[in-house]
């Protein structure tokens, strides 16, 4: 199937998500709550685009819109520009402390709206990506809690969670850097809990928590390597070089 996005013809499969197709064709659609490793959440609405089918146009969230028939897509029509700017204005009111949101606001011309009261110091846009991530790696230490204007992200009872491995995946995936993770020497603090960091066997850099490595070992069924990301990549490259000759 071939669809047209911003005048460019894009080859795609039935049921593929619109934003994935665009990304493959190097057409940029902004997004906050979409991450390649997880299914779309469809909650930030920054990724909206206009889809035209048989002359009818609708606005959809491209990260969760499956393409099922030929269509023409506009990622930057006047309507989309207007609506995206509005979404971002609202988001800035929610998370005025987030640099990422501020950046998007200036990029897409989202003006400050006096009607929207800003939540001072807030960075979280409540997309829930962090909780989904934590759940999908099997910890489930955090979740969204309450609802409506009281919605938040937290550990159960707001206490340090037994389930938390201190892996920091939530903090890494957060599109607005809202989750604080403090690191000092071989100590990491996150969600009100302190973790000892294990050092890389080669370069000596503290890189993962004991709990995290224990979990990895359990999943793998063998002790996980004690190498940090960089050294592990080097080690693999060395093996490849030896095998195939350099």
């Amino acid at each position: 199937m071939v669809i047209t996005i911003d005048g460019i013809e894009c080859e795609c499969e039935y049921g593929e998500f619109l934003r994935d197709i665009a990304t493959r064709c190097e057409i940029e659609i902004p997004a906050l709550c979409n991450h390649g490793g997880l299914p779309g959440q469809g909650c930030c609405r920054v990724c909206i685009v206009e889809v035209e089918i048989k002359g009818w146009k609708t606005v959809v969230a491209s990260c969760i819109y499956p393409v099922e028939q030929e269509c023409i897509v506009y990622t930057n029509s006047d309507k989309i520009k207007r609506q995206r700017a509005m979404v971002l204005s609202l988001m800035r009111a929610r998370a005025p402390a987030s640099k990422e949101i501020e950046l998007l606001c200036s990029k897409f011309g989202a003006s400050r709206n006096e009607r929207f009261i800003e939540q001072e110091g807030e960075k979280c846009i409540l997309c829930g990506l962090c909780a989904k991530t934590c759940e999908s790696i099997g910890s489930g230490a955090i979740s969204t809690i309450n609802r409506g204007i009281n919605k938040d992200v937290s550990t159960p009872y707001d206490e340090p969670s037994e389930a938390c491995l201190g892996c920091g995946a939530c903090s890494e995936i957060c599109p607005t850097s809202a989750i604080e993770m403090e690191e000092q020497g071989s100590l990491r603090k996150i969600w009100g809990k302190a973790f000892d960091l294990v050092s890389c066997e080669v370069c000596g850099k503290p890189y993962a928590t004991t709990q995290e490595l224990d979990r990895n070992a359990k999943v793998l069924g063998e002790p996980a390597s004690r190498l940090c990301d960089v050294c592990r990549r080097k080690a693999i490259a060395d093996v490849l070089a030896k095998t195939f000759g350099s």
């Binding site: 934590c134 759940e135 489930g140 979740s143 809690i145 609802r147 159960p156």
Partner: protein, 160 residues
Amino acid sequence: MALEAISKQEIKSLIESYENDRRHALRIMQDMQRIYNYVPREGLEALAERFSCPVSSLYSLATFYRALSLKPKGKNVIKVCDGTACHIRGSANLIGSIGRELDIAPGETTEDGMFSLELVNCLGSCALAPVMVVNEKYYSKVSMGQLAGIFNKIREGEDQ
């Protein structure tokens, strides 16, 4: 039911009276709310163990629904309607007066555990505005002057 009455055994048999399937979580929590006047932490944790799911996912559920509470609710739950009609007929003042009378804010419970105050959206009885419901009994066109009397009666009812 009093706090000390929560026994692990009781929670266990409640949980096990349902099939081991996560979709029953909400119903079991509703049962706990009915029995204990709240969803006790022991209950939430036992449920997580039974379903082999994170406590956080149940905590998320328990905080999402207004019908569930994580702290014991009062013996008498006062629901004040703050829907449009009641609002126009002065429910905000009513809520303020109840708050002063019992020294609690909406969502809170009195220290003696007798009353909880909750705000609800339309109760569908706009002709009676402003409406207050205590233990399923409706009080219509409530004025501030009546409050002390109503609460005293309820307290006395408890003494019997």
